[in-house]
Symmetry: C2
Amino acid sequence: MHIYKANLLFTKDSTSFTVIPDGYVAVDSGTIAGVYPRLPDELSGIPVTDYGNKLLIPAMIDVHVHAPQYRNIGIAMDLELLPWLNNYTFPEESKYADTAYAERMYRRFVRDLWRVGTMRTIAFATVHKDSTRLLMRLFEQAGMGALVGKVDMDRNCPVSLRETVADAIRDNEALIAEYAAPDALVRPIITPRFVPSCTPELLQACGELARKHNLPVQSHLSENRNEIAWVHELEPASLHYGDAYRRYGLFGATPTVMAHCVWTAGDELRMMRDNQVMVAHCPTSNFNLASGMAPIRTFLNEGVPVGLGSDISGGHDLSIFKVMVYAIQVSKMQYCQNHHLPFLTLPEAFWIATKSAGRLFGKVGSLEAGYDFDALVIDDSELNHDNYSLLHRLERFIYLGDDRHIVHRFCRGEQIAEPPIA
Amino acid sequence: MHIYKANLLFTKDSTSFTVIPDGYVAVDSGTIAGVYPRLPDELSGIPVTDYGNKLLIPAMIDVHVHAPQYRNIGIAMDLELLPWLNNYTFPEESKYADTAYAERMYRRFVRDLWRVGTMRTIAFATVHKDSTRLLMRLFEQAGMGALVGKVDMDRNCPVSLRETVADAIRDNEALIAEYAAPDALVRPIITPRFVPSCTPELLQACGELARKHNLPVQSHLSENRNEIAWVHELEPASLHYGDAYRRYGLFGATPTVMAHCVWTAGDELRMMRDNQVMVAHCPTSNFNLASGMAPIRTFLNEGVPVGLGSDISGGHDLSIFKVMVYAIQVSKMQYCQNHHLPFLTLPEAFWIATKSAGRLFGKVGSLEAGYDFDALVIDDSELNHDNYSLLHRLERFIYLGDDRHIVHRFCRGEQIAEPPIA
């Protein structure tokens, strides 16, 4: 058992922050044993690490990011989706057939997730088994949690990235066999890229794989209107884009996260709620690719689970703190256009990014007994130059802070050192 | 004369970047004498500072920011405009009656403008003459250019910030007398806060003051719909909000910049074009305060001058590079809703933030002969880990970079040292 002392801030629910000035977190075998405003007598004698006036908050969770697009973060933003995919994204992903290239880039990706305080990640890799395994190993070596998906696709993509259904399933099975422990920090996630790049046979096989191994599923859903029209053409028997996944067992039969859902409404939205399919809300990407503004308030009102994704390299900022800011801003534009949709408050955005997103990893994303101790220690002394309240200090760190202010990082109770890039 | 060598990137016009790898800038008495891809023979023998593989770009210009709201940056973002004004903004501005408080906060503000590479600023101060003078002195001491406005207001504000017309004019005259040189780096700008907080008598007096001393004017225009309705009530004889300024000589009779213009259209827009009134486009603020999305493409199409403003503390980010990113993103949402409005390209956003904005300071904002040498040297070696093109290096710095990557700053030919905060 170990005890940490600091100013604790977290969100038990979406309505408000729980703030415990000079509070204590007792951690036992990676799990939070208890959180206290004053240290209980029975815990006296346990070693205490005292972080003084610093803030201690849950670590960030990124529920949608393309690891092999990390080289392309912050470039080619003047392009629209299709030329961007064809001229930048697919050529870059093709390079991951080379594990030496993959290692150089993936090391930087994992290091930078560490920098921005993201301790749990749901990542797309590429179609390549070996570099996907490499990414999983790098997360493992770092001690950071991840669901990593070997991408599956067999149509509407360059030949260099196309595979047969049999090859896709064989490669998935190999990775699943290596990463079989259900409580491991790093696990596979079944990852058909999206309906347009997967034949019905591949989607069917992916769904069977997920159920066979009880593995989670990730994909993309209703990101932009041209894509949705395309899916209607490709899958005329489906009621809507989400139904095209459901028909193949990829829409909540196992825990599922769908990126974007910008245009999700009506029956698709109800199906997400009924099947508890999580939205990976990616507001930076939705801005940069001119996709639109996802109906985040409606998702909350309807009880659809939500988390935040950086969606590199559609998104340009790896920091989930900054994605939080954008999530609030998107909701403010929607409020501006329709005052019946109140904008997200800061505790709502924080809860979405932590406790709400964390359900895909077990009990992760809060500072409550029974939760994994995933935490960041924030030294905001530079930002806190004038007697701000604890809530304002956290708000300023979220809006103005960066990796310089994150001084310690924990994942499942372990302090995580900077992962080497070479 | 002195010569600087680096990779030069700048925007002569909005269509594209001019890129000069390993180029030379010759600077004489603060002004650019010439820019060359190879050093001309007649300049051999002049001392050269070689920045190697670094980038050298025009420095940033912030055309709308509230200096006394700097303490409040990044807090209370869950509030709407009116409670935010009444609970945070006005109480904070009242503190600037105390010049000791003002000095502590203004030093930090100027230091942080320096950090983010903003070498020219158009700032609102408060109604207080002495702390406004202090802000002007701090800019002068730093060597950074600024138009600083003592705010004028005499209605619809707390008593502690209210003044008489006679007092407002007397205090303005005092500051104008001290800062009379028309080519000084730091100059006054006539600053009626906005129509709702200024009686017709005060607006009239401000307009007369501007024309008497041939001084520029700044204020707020058409930021949100409730405000516009209020102005219609207060100024029934005006055709529209902009016309309420025009009637008092505050809409282009001298160089004028109006913040926001989110809802500007029709005759107001044509009047801005005809009078060459500049829009201070403040996309971060317009998001945070749920004001809306300003019609930036329409301003460009119609020939209305535009610059970018951080609008602290409605805006949350002092970096004009990050405001550029938001300006592009706003335009992408507008494009998403109406494909007849192409989104801003990176060179357009950069041109708006530099050469377009710079016209209020003379010849500022480009690396062309005759322009003031206002420049930043960017060491992006950390971001440039994989053989990116110069244009992609600049794009990555804009999207991903921060003050750590800005290694030298110049204003009117002088290298600017970090201004002390105490």
